[in-house]
């Protein structure tokens, strides 16, 4: 069905593909890297959007999962390159698919622990507790020297994907783009599913969900874990994009930025994170070119969006969100 929102989504998806293809054809790899950054940040925010947009869970700690994904990539590849076995004598790897699986499982387990405690609370408590737990992971990464501590960990050669040369910007972009599309597809499926129905209903009216006999806690915990897994996958890609992972991926600024991406794009919208990430990277690039203090203006813009334009970019382009 080609509603206005679907049309806008389609245009966004095509733009994000065509722009780097064109940039590559004109020998401008820098713009390919920008597009890759957009795709990865969009995927990270898409993960958060599952918890925040669908479930109404304002997690201020998703940087923890983003960073865990990043460290999974960094740690596995460093072990593979040094031939030093890891815990239990397992070898490292430079294969992205394996790294992704490890990233997703590790983040899922951590999210299960964090969520199990945080979801016993709600509202402001939830916001602060997720923030605090992410901070715990952050300080752990800083004070644990084995993987670079405060200095972070370099990924000397970008990890590999079977059949592709990921060191080519366009190839790596295409990997990220396809993963993003898959993530969007998964999000759309979940949103329309039984689970998605319960998750969204728990946001709209928790008592109602319990009154029909569904445990809101279990639904939310599941949603939180899936959300963390998607964000962790983005984290693994992000580390590969920068060929570097450091505690800054785990910092609370990162958590804040992920929320900002969603709001800039439009909360709970399928393509909100894509629109938000594109807008964010564009700001960063355009304003960052003008002034070192671009975050000052980002702050002003964000304040304006929150106070006066709650629907975000998609709200402006595609009107109010519709539900089944």
């Amino acid at each position: 069905m080609l509603t206005r929102e679907n049309t806008v989504n389609l245009v966004l998806a095509l733009l994000l593909l065509v722009a780097p293809l064109a940039a590559n054809a004109f020998g401008q790899p820098f713009y390919v890297t920008l597009a890759t950054r957009i795709a990865i940040l969009a995927l990270a925010a898409l993960g958060l959007n599952l918890a925040l947009g669908l479930g109404g869970l304002v997690s201020f700690g998703h940087a923890a999962f983003f960073g865990i994904g990043g460290y999974a990539a960094g740690i596995l590849s460093s072990h593979a390159l040094s031939y030093e076995p890891m815990i239990f004598g397992l070898p490292g790897t430079v294969q992205m698919p394996v790294i992704w699986i490890v990233a997703v499982i590790a983040a899922g387990l951590v999210a299960l622990a964090i969520g199990a405690i945080s979801l016993r609370t709600s509202g402001v408590y939830f916001i602060m507790i997720t923030l605090a737990f992410a901070q715990m992971v952050y300080y752990f990464a800083i004070s644990w020297p084995a993987y670079g501590g405060e200095d972070g960990l370099s990924i000397l050669v970008r990890n590999q994907f079977p059949g592709l040369n990921t060191m080519k910007p366009l190839s790596f972009f295409l990997v990220c783009y396809v993963v993003l599309l898959a993530g969007i597809g998964l999000f759309a499926l979940i949103r329309a599913s039984r689970f998605g129905t319960a998750l969204q209903a728990a946001r709209q009216n928790e008592t109602r969900v319990a009154t029909v006999g569904i445990h809101p806690y279990r639904i939310r915990l599941t949603g939180f874990v899936i959300s963390a897994m998607i964000t962790a996958l983005a984290g693994a890609l992000y580390a590969d994009l920068n060929r570097f992972v450091s505690p800054s991926m785990l910092s609370w600024h990162m958590s804040g930025e992920l929320i900002v991406l969603i709001i800039l794009g439009g909360t709970g919208r399928l393509f909100g994170p894509v629109a938000g990430a594109a807008l964010y990277v564009a700001f960063e690039f355009a304003l960052g070119g003008l002034t070192e203090r671009w975050q000052f203006f980002l702050g002003l813009i964000l304040l304006g969006v929150v106070l006066f334009a709650r629907g975000g970019l998609l709200g402006l382009l595609a009107g109010k969100a519709k539900h089944g």
Binding site: V58, R120, T121, V124, I127, M128, A132, P145, Q295, G299
Partner: protein, 307 residues
């Protein structure tokens, strides 16, 4: 390990707790009265520190700097409340988080603009330099003891203000019933601005006091802010009493954890390993404490009665 060293660490923990209390008291008061979660509270801490350092450098007087820190932070708080915050009281927490996150960006970059990228330094005033000798032959900086004293005085002051004065009565009424306080004819908007400025001034004071112990730099408020969040989550959001107990608990646990855990581990593994593992574990300790407390009492140790 000597008694003297342990005593010193304990005092350091209390001193950290006192600083956290100054931050947490404002946060929890603002949440209790206005229902607002304010991430930019750390920025006001930073404003206080910069104001103190700048005025102290300019006039040569730490004490004038201290007054400036209170005044600037209160003024900044009042302006922010009037311009932005009061539009957020009726919004959901997500909007509050985002708008105050935006304020952090504005404050941080704005401060860099004014003062540059390099940290400022603030000297301990002559009156409070030096050390005192404690039982067990320990010596302890006078300045840190002074901070503890200031914190105790402010805790007492807040107790009297909220428990015994008309303003405090209005604050308590505002916490339990916004409608009623409106019906009583209290100008609720002015009250909110006052409470926000008061919370900001406390944060500014904390920033100024700590500024003489560390360097004064952009971003200095953020780690403290997050610890203050842990404090009020542990204490029960909205409760000043909870903030006090939570702050002391977090301050002492964190400090003693960093001191004791590596030594404790050294009994089992070799010292360099113990330092590394112990350090990493200690950095996580307060969060573990928070998790345990929340697992037992999800609304904190002293949840406000009306919540």
């Amino acid at each position: 390990m000597t008694i003297a060293l342990a005593l010193e660490q304990l005092l350091n923990g209390i001193q950290l707790g006192v600083m956290l209390f100054l931050m947490a008291a404002g946060l929890t008061l603002i949440f209790g009265v206005m229902g607002l979660i304010n991430l930019a509270h750390g920025s006001l801490y930073m404003v206080g520190a910069f104001a103190c350092a700048a005025v102290a450098a300019w006039t040569g007087s730490f004490w004038l700097g201290l007054i400036a820190s209170l005044a600037c932070a209160a003024a900044a708080g009042a302006i922010v409340e009037l311009a932005v915050i009061r539009r957020l009281y009726d919004r959901d927490h997500l909007d509050q988080v985002l708008a105050t996150f935006a304020l952090i960006l504005i404050f941080s970059e704005g401060t860099r603009w004014l003062f540059g990228d390099f940290p400022l330094y603030l000297d301990i005033p002559a009156l409070l330099q030096g050390v005192v000798t404690l039982p067990g032959d320990a010596s302890y900086p006078v300045y840190r003891l002074a901070i503890i004293a200031v914190g105790a005085l402010i805790a007492l002051g807040l107790y009297l203000l909220i428990g015994k004065t008309r303003l405090g009565m209005r604050i308590r009424a505002g916490e339990s019933d916004r409608e009623m306080i409106g019906a009583l004819g209290v100008d609720i908007r002015t009250l909110y601005t006052l409470v926000f400025a008061l919370g900001s001034a406390l944060a500014g004071l904390a920033g100024a006091l700590v500024g003489a112990l560390q360097s004064v730099q952009v971003g200095m408020g953020e780690p403290v802010l997050i610890l203050a969040f842990v404090v009020i989550v542990i204490g029960g959001i909205g409760s000043i009493k909870g903030a006090l107990y939570g702050a002391l608990l977090v301050g002492v646990t964190d400090t003693l954890g960093r001191f004791l855990l590596p030594q404790f581990l050294a009994l089992f593994v070799d010292p360099s390993q113990a330092g590394m593992i112990g350090g990493a574990m200690a950095s996580m300790l307060i969060y573990v404490v928070m998790a345990v407390i929340l697992a037992v009492k999800p609304r904190g140790l002293f949840p406000p009665a009306h919540a």
